[in-house]
Amino acid sequence: MKKSPPTPLSRAPLFQRGEPDSSLRLGSCRAGSACRFAALALAVVLAACNDGKELAPVPGHDGVTKSAASERALRRAFDGAPPVIPHAAFGPCVSCHSDSGMAVEGVGFSPPSPHARTKGMSAVSRCQQCHVFQTTRAVFADNGFDGLRQDLRRGRRLNALAPPVIPHQILMRENCQACHSGPTAREEIRTSHPERARCRQCHVEQRTTEVFETSGP
C-alpha cells in the first residue's frame, strides 16, 4: 500500500498562513504558465442572484477565515452529498486540494481533501467521479427535493473535560484536519490541538444510540 505524504506535525503549525509550502505554491505548478493562468480563473466569483446581491465570498477571501454552515450547504444537494466544484476547471485537483490544503495567491485558501487518506477506494484518484462542475444555472425541470441538512449539534461528551465523540460518519472524512483545523475550519468545530495527529485516539465514532445491556447478574 502506497503511503500518503506525511502530515506536518507539531513542529510547525499545520497551516502557516501567509507562508505556504513553496513546493505547493501555485507558481510551481508543473503544468506551466497555462495552468497558472487558468488557476487564476479559479473563480470564486459567486454571481449575483436576481436581487442583485452577491453571495458571501468563499472562505479565505478578504479575511473571511471560516466556512459557514450556509456556505457549506450551498454546494451540496444534502448533507452527505459531495459538494459541486465552485470554480472553473484547471489543473489536477490535488495540486491545490492536497493533504493539507494550500494558500493560492490571489484566490484564497484552498481547503484540503477530507478523503486524502480514505483507504480502499482510491478516493483521491478520480475526484470528478463525485465532484462535478456547475456549467450552468439553468434547470431541465424543476425539482422539489428537500434534502437532509447538516446536523450542527456537537458531538456529545461525558463532561466538560472529556473529548467529544465524533457525531458523523468517518468514511470519506478520514482526514479530520480538513474540516477541524486550518483557515477554512468553522470556529465552533475547530480543534484547539491540531498538532496531535492521532485524533481518533481520543475521539471515537458514535455508531449507535443504543446502550449496553447486560445479559444477567
Binding site: 453571495l55 450551498l74 480502499g120 478520480r126
Partner: protein, 797 residues
C-alpha cells in the same frame, strides 16, 4: 491569504485577484441559484438538526449495472415520508461505501416536479386527459383483447426494461407468454447487452460471467475493450485503481477508438480503427498460437472448437436499409479444431492486423505478451463498445477465446468480465428471461422440454406457451410502424430516444395502433403514447435487482409513490386479471412479492443458477448465484468455489451439455462495419454515455447538480478537424448522415478526444436526438444495434 499580506508573491506571470476577477468577468463561472441562497439563509437563521424520525434503509442504486449498495435516509416514515439523503453502504461488498456522483444524488430523482401522477389518455385533439386507474386498466385490457381477437397473439407486444425489477419482469413474462400466449416480449436490454448474452450462451450454454467483482483486486492486468469504465462504471474502476495504488505492477490497458477519462489512467493506450477490434483480437490469438503461449493441457481438457457462418453476403448487417423486413439470420455451428484454428489465424499475422487496425505491431505484440504471460491474472472488461457492434457476438466470443486459449478463466483475477449498463439487465432480463425467445434460468421457448417445465411450474395446460420466438426490439418497433403489432405496452424505458435511426418510428396520427407507456416522467416516448401510466420509482416500491456479478439484491418499499403512481408489476397483474388471467397471479394484494419470488425461484433450483431465498435476500446485501445451501458462489465453474463442480481442481463447464460439458472456442473472422466513411460522409460517428447522465437522462436531468454539470449534448471533435472546419469549442455544427441531421455545440479537447476523422456524441439529450443520425445495422446473431459506427458529415452552421 486575505488580510495577510506577508505571503510571497507568486513569480511573474501571476495576476492579482482583482485582475483575474476582471478577466473572468462576473458571470463567467460557476455560481449558485437563488434556491440555494434561500436554503443557505434558512440554514444560517435556524439551527437545523437531523429529523428525529430519520431512518436508514438499504437499497441498490437505481442506475447502472454495478449495483452499488446505498443506505437511504427517510424522514417521516414510509407513508407520507420523503427520501432526504443517501450514503454509500459500507456493508455492501460491491462498493464498500463509495458511490459516484449519480449515486450520491439519487434522492432527487424521485422529486422532479413533473412526476407523472395520474393515468392519462390522449384525446383526439392530442391533449392528455386524466382518467381513473379503473378506467385506464379497463382500457388496456380491452385493447389487448381486441387485438388478440382480431389479429392473434402476434399483434400484441410488451417492450420492457433492464430497469424492471425482477417482479416487473416476471409478471410481464408470465402474462405475455403464459397468458397472452405470445412471445412478443423483448427488453431495451436488447440494445445494450444482447451480444453478451449470445456470446456467453454460444460458448458456455449458460448466460452471464463466471467471475465476480473480487477479480478487480485479484487481477494483475485489466484489458478494457472499448470500455470507458472511469465514466460508466466509476465505482468498479475505483476498485481497479485502488488495486493499482497498492500494487504498482498492476496494469490497465485501454483499447479504444477515442481517448476518454479512462485513458488517463491507462498504462497502455491502444487506438484502433472502428470495428477492427475483431482483427485485433485475432491478431493476439495469432501471436499466442505462434509463440506457443497456448495452455495445451487446459485446451485439451476443457474446450471444443466451433465455426459458424462466415460469408459476409450470407450474414449482412441485419435490418440495414431495405434488407429483410423481418431479419431471420441464424448462425450454424460446425465442428472445428485447434489445427484448423492455426490455419485460420494465418490471415492475422501482425503486419496485416496492423494495417487493418492502425495499431502498431509493437502494441499488438505487447497485448499478446499480456494475455500470454501465464503467471499474471488477466481480466478482460467490456460493455457497449463490444456489444453494440454489427459483429458483437463474435467480438464477445473472441475476447472469451483469448481467455480459453490461455486457460485464464474461472479463477480469481483471471476472467472475461462483461459489464452491464442497467441495474437489472442481468437479474431481470437475462435471468427471468424477458426476451423474445427465452424463459427463466437459461431456458428457451424453442425447446419443448423448457416450455413444459415452465407450464408445469405455472400450472398451465401443455402447449400454452408458443414455440415461435417473438419480435426482437428493433423488429418490434418496425412491426408497430408497419401495423403488424397493433398494441404495445412500454414500461420503464424510452425507445423514442434510444432506438437507432429514429426516423423509422415516427408515429402518424390515426395510425390505428395503441401505445401504452408506463413511466415516472414525461419523455419523448410518453409524448407519442395513447395512454400514459404513472409508475412508482425505485424505493417507492419493493424490489429485487440483479447486477453484473450475478448478485441478487432486495430492498423494501421505503416511501409512498406520489399521486396515484403504482409499480409496473401491479399494473400488469391488474390488466391480467381483467383479461381473465388472474390465475397467473393468485397471491393476495397486500403480500405478493415474496410468493412471486419463491415461485420464480423454483425455475432456478438445481440448474446452477440457483437463487437465494427471499428471506435470505432480505437479510443480506445481496448474494451471488448459484446460491446452494445458503452459500453464494463467487467463481462459477471453478473447483473449490462452485458447488456444482465436483473436480478437485481446475474448471468444469457443466452447463454446456451440448459441447460435452466443455466450453466452445469459436473461430470468428474480421468483417468490416456496415457503413464506413467516404468522401460524402467522411467522419466516423460513435455515440454513448457520460458520467453525469444515465441513459436518456429522464431521471438524471431532473437532478439539478447533474444537469448543471452537463446540460446538453455536444459533439467531440479532434482539434485538427475542428481547425480545418474553422470551429472551436462552443461553436455549432451540423451532423449529417444518410438518415438524418442534428445541430450540436462543438467540444474540443474535452473529456473525450476522438482521433482525426472521428466524432462522438452522447445520447442523453432528448432535445438533440443523435439517434436521428445513427444507423440501424445490427449484429445478426444477437440483433443488437451498432450505435458506435456510422458515417457522417460535419458542417459549420
Amino acid at each position: 491569504m486575505g488580510n495577510e499580506k506577508s505571503s510571497p508573491r507568486p513569480d511573474s506571470g501571476s495576476l492579482h485577484r482583482r485582475d483575474f476577477l476582471k478577466l473572468t468577468g462576473l458571470g463567467a463561472v460557476a455560481a449558485f441559484s437563488c434556491a440555494d441562497r434561500e436554503e443557505a439563509e434558512r440554514l444560517a437563521a435556524g439551527a437545523p438538526t437531523v429529523p428525529a424520525d430519520l431512518t436508514w434503509g438499504k437499497a441498490p442504486c437505481r442506475y447502472c449495472g454495478t449495483g452499488c449498495g446505498v443506505e437511504v435516509g427517510v424522514a417521516g416514515g414510509v407513508h407520507g415520508g420523503k427520501v432526504v439523503a443517501v450514503r454509500g453502504d459500507e456493508k455492501s461488498p460491491v462498493n464498500r461505501g463509495l458511490l459516484c456522483v449519480k449515486g450520491y444524488h439519487l434522492p432527487a430523482l424521485l422529486y422532479g416536479r413533473d412526476r407523472l401522477l395520474y393515468p392519462m389518455r390522449r384525446r383526439p385533439d392530442g391533449a392528455l386527459e386524466r382518467l381513473s386507474w379503473e378506467a385506464a386498466l379497463d382500457l388496456v385490457a380491452e385493447r389487448y383483447q381486441a387485438a388478440l381477437d382480431a389479429d392473434g397473439p402476434e399483434a400484441v407486444a410488451v417492450y420492457g426494461s433492464g430497469q424492471w425489477t425482477v417482479f416487473d419482469g416476471y409478471a410481464a413474462l408470465k402474462w405475455v407468454k403464459g397468458g397472452l400466449r405470445s412471445n412478443n416480449l423483448d427488453p431495451n436490454a436488447r440494445l445494450c447487452m444482447a451480444s453478451a448474452v449470445s456470446g456467453f450462451v454460444s460458448q458456455f450454454q449458460s448466460d452471464e460471467p463466471m467471475g465476480c467483482y473480487e477479480d478487480f483486486e485479484a487481477g494483475d492486468d485489466f484489458v478494457l475493450w472499448g470500455n470507458n469504465m472511469a465514466e460508466m462504471h466509476p465505482v468498479l474502476f475505483s476498485r481497479i485503481l485502488e488495486n493499482k495504488r497498492g500494487n504498482p505492477g498492476v496494469r490497465i490497458i485501454d483499447l479504444a477508438t477515442r481517448r476518454t477519462p479512462t485513458s488517463e489512467y491507462a498504462d497502455l493506450y491502444v487506438e484502433f480503427k472502428p470495428g477492427t477490434d475483431l482483427a485485433l483480437a485475432n491478431g493476439i490469438l495469432h501471436l499466442l498460437v505462434a509463440q506457443g503461449k497456448v495452455d495445451r493441457a487446459f485446451v485439451a481438457e476443457n474446450l471444443v472448437f466451433r465455426r459458424g457462418i462466415e460469408e459476409l453476403e450470407a450474414i449482412g448487417w441485419g435490418c440495414y436499409g431495405e434488407q429483410a423486413q423481418r431479419y431471420t439470420f441464424e448462425d450454424e455451428a460446425r465442428e472445428s479444431s485447434f489445427a484448423e484454428l492455426e490455419t485460420f489465424l494465418a490471415d492475422y499475422a501482425p503486419p496485416r492486423v496492423s494495417e487493418l487496425t492502425g495499431v502498431p505491431e509493437a502494441q499488438i505484440r505487447s497485448l499478446a505478451a499480456i494475455y500470454g504471460e501465464g503467471s499474471r491474472g488477466t481480466v478482460s472488461l467490456w460493455c457497449m463498445g463490444v456489444n453494440q457492434h454489427t459483429r458483437g457476438t463474435w467480438m464477445n466470443n473472441l475476447i472469451t477465446d483469448l481467455h480459453l486459449l490461455t486457460g485464464k478463466i474461472g479463477r480469481p483475477g483471471a476472467n472475461p468480465f462483461s459489464l452491464t449498463g442497467q441495474p437489472s439487465a442481468c437479474g431481470t432480463v437475462r435471468e427471468v428471461g424477458t426476451i423474445a425467445n427465452r424463459l427463466p434460468a437459461d431456458m428457451v421457448v424453442t425447446d419443448p422440454e423448457h416450455r413444459h417445465k415452465a407450464e408445469q411450474i405455472w400450472g398451465l395446460a401443455p402447449g400454452t406457451i408458443p414455440e415461435k420466438p417473438g419480435y426482437h426490439a428493433v423488429d418490434m418497433f418496425r412491426a408497430l410502424a408497419r401495423g403488424d403489432v397493433k398494441v404495445i405496452w412500454i414500461q420503464t424505458t424510452n425507445p423514442w430516444v434510444t432506438l437507432p435511426n429514429l426516423n423509422r418510428f415516427e408515429r402518424k396520427p390515426g395510425d390505428g395502433r395503441f401505445v401504452i407507456v408506463s413511466d415516472i416522467y414525461p419523455t419523448p416516448s410518453t409524448a407519442v403514447a395513447d395512454l400514459v401510466l404513472p409508475s412508482a420509482a425505485w424505493v417507492e416500491r419493493e424490489g429485487v435487482f440483479g447486477n453484473s456479478e450475478r448478485r441478487t439484491q432486495q430492498w423494501h418499499k421505503l416511501v409512498d409513490p406520489p399521486g396515484e403512481a403504482r409499480e409496473d408489476a401491479w399494473q400488469i397483474i391488474q390488466v391480467a386479471r381483467r383479461m381473465g388471467m388472474g390465475h397467473l397471479f393468485p397471491w393476495p394484494d397486500d403480500a405478493w412479492h415474496e410468493p412471486m419470488f419463491e415461485e420464480y425461484r423454483k425455475f432456478t433450483i438445481g440448474t446452477g443458477k440457483d437463487l437465494a431465498s427471499y428471506e435470505q435476500l432480505r437479510e443480506t446485501r445481496g448474494l451471488i448465484w448459484p446460491v446452494v445451501g445458503g452459500k453464494e458462489t463467487r467463481y462459477r465453474y471453478a473447483a473449490g468455489f462452485d458447488p456444482y463442480v465436483t473436480k478437485r481442481k481446475g474448471v468444469h463447464f457443466y452447463k454446456a451439455k451440448g459441447y460435452g460439458e466443455r466450453a466452445a472456442f469459436w473461430l470468428r473472422p474480421y468483417h468490416p462495419p456496415a457503413e464506413v466513411p467516404d468522401d460524402e460522409y467522411p467522419f466516423w460517428l460513435s455515440t454513448g454515455r457520460i458520467l453525469e447522465h444515465w441513459h436518456t437522462g429522464s431521471m438524471t436531468r431532473r437532478v439539478r447538480q447533474l444537469h448543471q454539470a452537463a446540460p446538453e449534448a455536444y459533439v467531440e471533435l479532434n482539434r485538427a478537424d475542428a481547425a480545418e472546419l474553422g470551429v472551436k469549442s462552443g461553436d455549432r455544427v451540423r451532423l449529417v448522415s444518410r438518415r438524418g441531421e442534428l445541430e450540436l455545440p462543438v467540444a474540443v479537447d474535452g473529456r473525450g478526444q476522438p482521433p482525426r476523422g472521428s466524432v462522438f456524441v452522447p445520447f442523453f439529450d432528448e432535445s438533440r436526438l443523435v439517434n436521428l443520425v445513427t444507423l440501424d445495422a445490427m449484429d445478426s446473431i444477437s440483433k443488437q444495434p451498432d450505435y458506435k459506427k456510422c458515417a457522417v458529415r460535419v458542417e459549420r452552421v
